[in-house]
Subunit: 604 residues, 2 copies
């Protein structure tokens, strides 16, 4: 994920209460748990992404995994150093959208918002797809239902987030520690053994379709860069750390970099030594786990932990995107709906939007991780590059002591990530990167159009200006009635209280009934004029609308008061015909009069 | 169908215009076209129903087809004579529901309504299923998609009936005549040939699972009685005939009986002589057609005509059930919705209800005719029996000349149909007849419950009584507002015109915003009091509802006027948040105040 937990900073994972001071801020280790699961969990798909590409040139080509991983680790080192500088410069966190809006202008902020949105969705999809694959490695019966597993996991996450569970960093500690131990265990145990303890999965015939050329290596490199996603999250979450905030965050960033680097290098070494190729029904990481631990309980435990951590990584998007969408809504760039929080402190519409988009995406790729990687990695580098360029600009403007060295580091980061991004875009264009290239401008266009609408609407509504005072006018209340009854009595009572003038209107299809109504009305003599409209075609709504339109205008306030019988029990609702509601809907669509609904409650 | 076109009488197929006199009433032949397609088309499934049952005792058992058909023809004769008497006694037609309501009391009329409803639905299902099978006999590629063919035909019928096409008897003449010629042609040509001209369909192995005992013969008989459905339709349609009405209707009834009898007997003879057994992919009738005409164009033409006539038979239900439902709605036994006719002279809700029920039924049986026969035949006999018993009662009460002979004929009819009905019920109970036995009482219960609701509601609404005059009271209009804007100005203008007293209410989550609003309000000074409600939990709707409830009562009329921004273009609708609508919905559900929506149209 490009800009990671950016907006989570606005909704601290650790609930803050007044007077409890620093106690609820994060230590370095807690920060690792709260902010780096997303980055660490990418070892579940990063190395595999390299292997899947290289194997196209035969199993021999897999030896290239190690050098490619070394380059990726160098890139990681540059990014970590660079983000340590970001932490020092932007201790308020804030995330790419906020930073871009403040210092890089409208257009870049729209770009940031669009990439972020896509990244959040992709993070959910990739993490769940990899989680499902990991679960299926332990329980082969699931391997033919990967998509279903993904969707079940997604449904669970959505439910949890609609419910609005307050996560705490402490709750994340245990899975994080277990995950780090398992992963480092795989590397250490694997290196200690001379050959794999067990081999899992079914071999499938490798068909060599390409030569191991520069293009293939570049492809493998760009796919492998998916392992770098999430390293920016700590930089965005600085406000969540305990004082000294900057030092702790920098320390956590370093820890993350070292752990991730060790895992990636160790795994690449094992892949090379044991000739690990893709096998049916298991992930590459599961093969490494089996090689190091055998297929006893440790194998199952490791796969379950990986699945759990990937699900938690997907969950970070549920913390992020709804908040980003609410910010966009506040900036008039998305429907205001997304800024609504009802009784629970949850942006429901954002959560549902994320769930729907992720489900669509998972369906489109059939729940297969490797088909998501090309889409995923492209956004990552957009985000990295924006952050680094922003910082170079900062150094160049502020020129503090040693700014040149620092600018060079961030500049190198920018150049490397731009390069990697371009490699990715060119090598993966047809495999899915184009989707992102189409989606980003479309989203930016959407944001712009929405903003333009709200600007015009705000202008017409005179928002922010004092309007002229309200005018005092006379009013006419029109009451559509079918017959003389207590409903009519109640409706006229309400109408007389509201209107200066009241008229009852009845649409009648049959002349005899019309006459009968007229007679009854005269006997009742309610003190209100009755107008009967002829409707030979049995239509009720059209003649009423035409009548209202004739009366409208002329400076009077026109209101139509529609009486409606409301049974107490919901099951009887459809027994009362819904002509009133229909009339209300049509009146609201085709006239600009005030439409009043008057309920008449029954005891049944 | 038990009571057939009963209610069609209320909606003459031939549109009547003033001054055109008898010209648009039916001659005997036209009456045959308009009223007997349903009965005649049952030769498409009746004989097959016998064969399908008998073949369980081996192909040898098929010889029993002829004697069984002879018995069915005798039953037909009794019914025809009996219905000729019904025509004489009830020249107003009216149908079983109307007749039962008038002379047999509430409970029997409910029974009649329930059986009629079920029969109409079953007529659609059986006719379409048989039509699909007939079409598939000509075009074998369809035979593995029978259900889909049924549903496509059903969709077509539904569309035509929602559109409201005025059928005319003349339009039905051509298919009727073609159908009669084809069927009689099959019989005559078949008898003239010494052996079948062609054999169609694939033989499938006959497994003998039962002995040819009394039970099997009774089963075959009761299934074959499905060929008798629809013979009551003419008796229900007497008012549609040209004078001398009764004579012409009786003449048509006789023609129908003779035609149907000849077809059934002729076909049974051919089945016996040519050892026609069920074959894969073709209907029995298609086999007979191939046997008489060969497999040239005549074969295709015949099958297409059969399909067309079956579709027209299904269409009779679309003329019948919606009208019956509208009568039930007028009698307060179904939601009044079903009595609504909008711009077109069509009971839309009834048409849709029939389409949905038929689709469900067709789905449940997978579009297979023979699985519908047991359900179908049971209702037929209920209807027959009710009519006959009613007439016996009539004779016994009135005692005209020769009443005893007539009563005995109708009595024999009643006994025979009761007997056939009991046979059917006992032999086919587990095969589907139980469904009808469950559905009929449930429908009757539904009608009763609906009627009871309307009675209570009518009582509470004081329908048919003159209510006390309306009271003049004061009014308070509450206007929920978010900010000071032209929307607020417009809303207060409307509220001041409507209410004796007006109060603006704003729910605010943040104290600073509340203060800012208060300041702006004072600068604006619209002459209306502003109340600010604190809502620390960001909920907007709950505090507003609570406020309204506090104000309610005390003899004042309370109205809540909700201003709503309405974009001109529908696509912008979701950009305006729907809090207004939500508030209106909740207020209507939880309070009994008048809820007014005030639209504020935008130019975008």
């Amino acid at each position: 994920m490009a800009f990671g937990l950016a907006h989570r900073a606005l909704r601290p994972r650790v609930p803050l209460r007044h007077g409890e001071g620093d106690k609820h801020h994060l230590t370095s280790i807690e920060g690792l748990a709260a902010l780096s699961l997303d980055a660490l969990s990418s070892v579940a798909y990063g190395p595999e992404a390299i292997v899947v590409v290289l194997v196209a040139a035969g199993t021999g080509a897999l030896t290239a995994t190690l050098p490619i991983t070394v380059v990726i680790t160098i890139l990681l080192t540059v990014l970590v150093i660079s983000y340590r500088q970001v932490i020092a410069v932007h201790p308020d966190g804030g995330g790419a959208y906020a930073v871009a809006k403040k210092s890089l202008g409208q257009r870049v902020s729209l770009l940031a918002a669009a990439s972020l949105t896509i990244d959040y969705v992709l993070t959910v999809a990739v993490s769940l797809a990899a989680g499902a694959a990991s679960l299926a490695s332990a329980f082969p019966i699931l391997s033919s239902h990967l998509l279903a597993v993904c969707l079940v996991l997604l449904a669970l996450l959505t439910a949890v987030n609609l419910w609005g569970v307050a996560e705490s960093a402490r709750a994340l500690m245990l899975p994080t520690v277990l995950f780090i131990i398992s992963m480092l265990g795989i590397v250490v145990m694997g290196i200690l053994r001379s050959h794999p303890a067990a081999v899992v999965g079914a071999a499938h015939p490798v068909r060599t379709t390409e030569a191991l050329g520069v293009l293939l290596i570049l492809k493998a490199f760009s796919s492998g860069c998916s392992a770098l996603t999430g390293v920016e999250a700590i930089a965005n979450g600085v406000p969540m750390f305990r004082e000294p905030r900057i030092k702790r965050a920098q320390h956590t960033e370093l820890m993350l970099g070292m752990l991730l680097g060790m895992m990636l290098l160790g795994m690449a070494y094992l892949i090379r030594r044991d000739h690990v190729a893709p096998r049916d029904g298991v992930t590459v990481l599961a093969q490494l786990a089996a090689g190091s631990y055998g297929t006893g309980w440790e194998y199952y435990a490791t796969n379950l932990i990986i699945t759990l951590v990937l699900a938690l990584a997907a969950n970070t998007s549920f913390g992020g995107l709804p908040v980003l969408m609410s910010l966009l809504a506040r900036d008039d760039r998305l429907p205001h709906l997304f800024g609504l929080r009802a009784e629970r402190p949850v942006y429901r519409y954002g959560v549902v939007a994320l769930a729907l988009l992720s489900a669509l995406l998972l369906n489109a790729v059939g729940g297969e991780t490797h088909r998501l990687i090309p889409l995923f990695a492209i956004g990552v580098f957009t985000g990295f590059t924006i952050s680094q360029v922003g910082l170079v600009r900062h150094w160049a403007t502020e020129q503090p002591e040693g700014w040149l060295r620092r600018a060079m580091i961030n500049g190198l980061g920018a150049v490397l990530t731009t390069g990697a991004g371009l490699v990715l875009l060119t090598t993966k264009f047809l495999e899915g990167a184009w989707v992102v290239l189409v989606a980003v401008p479309l989203l930016m266009l959407l944001f712009t159009r929405v903003q333009r609408y709200y600007a015009t609407a705000g202008e017409e509504l005179g928002l922010g200006r004092i309007p002229p005072p309200p005018v005092r006018t006379m009013s006419l209340v029109i009451v559509p009635l079918g017959e003389v009854s207590r409903l009519a009595q109640r409706a006229l009572t309400a109408a007389l209280a509201l209107g200066d003038e009241v008229v009852a209107v009845s649409v009648q299809a049959e002349p005899e009934k019309a006459r009968a109504l007229q007679d009854t009305w005269e006997r009742w003599n309610p003190g209100v004029r009755l107008e009967i409209i002829d409707s030979p075609h049995r239509s009720l709504v059209q003649p009423m609308v035409a009548y209202v339109r004739r009366e409208a205008g002329g400076g009077r306030e026109i209101a139509v008061l529609i009486p409606e019988v409301e049974p107490r029990h919901r099951r009887y609702k459809m027994l009362q015909n819904q002509r009133g509601l229909l009339l209300a809907t049509v009146l609201r669509a085709r006239t600009d009069v005030v439409v009043c609904m008057m309920p008449y409650g029954l005891s049944v």
